[in-house]
Symmetry: C2
Subunit: 96 residues, 2 copies
């Protein structure tokens, strides 16, 4: 299933930049960045639960926020991209 | 239907900041901001087409990007929020 993850990490406190890097690193392991703080992850239910646990352990819930959108299995028609940095379709074979 | 809009506006050129403000103003008219550059819009198909046209007219597709996610009518179970700035449920009556 396709999970879209968006995060807002506050940079008001000195630890913010570290939390931001850490959140991006976690999301990088589960999917790919499509915008500054938006990742798309093709994962199953177990992986999604793990991703949530890892991110929750990193953020400061008082000032940071996570947003997860579950687009399910048939996501192709639900995602539309306009402009720069179009993302290669992850489950299509990379042709070199 | 719930449409999630994410935008990445490049601030490398002098017009970037103006495009960013303009994109946010447009999205504000169609829905509500849930993260820095992520908006959630409860709109119908016609409004969605209009929103896309307006945003496309504002961005520079060479350097900016728009991402639209269509979560359909039954979106409640597909959206999960963790941490700060939880958004009030838009189609619930505001109780003061």
């Amino acid at each position: 299933m396709l999970i879209v993850v968006g995060y807002d990490i506050s940079l008001m406190d000195p630890q913010g930049a570290k939390r931001l890097r850490h959140a991006a690193k976690i999301c990088d392991r589960y999917g790919q960045r499509v915008q500054n703080s938006v990742f798309e992850c093709l994962i199953n239910t177990l992986e999604f639960e793990k991703l949530q646990r890892e991110l929750k352990a990193v953020i400061n819930p008082e000032v940071d926020s996570l947003r997860f959108y579950n687009l399910g299995q048939n996501y192709e028609t639900k995602v539309k991209h306009v402009g720069a940095k179009a993302v290669t379709n992850m489950d299509q074979p990379m042709i070199f």
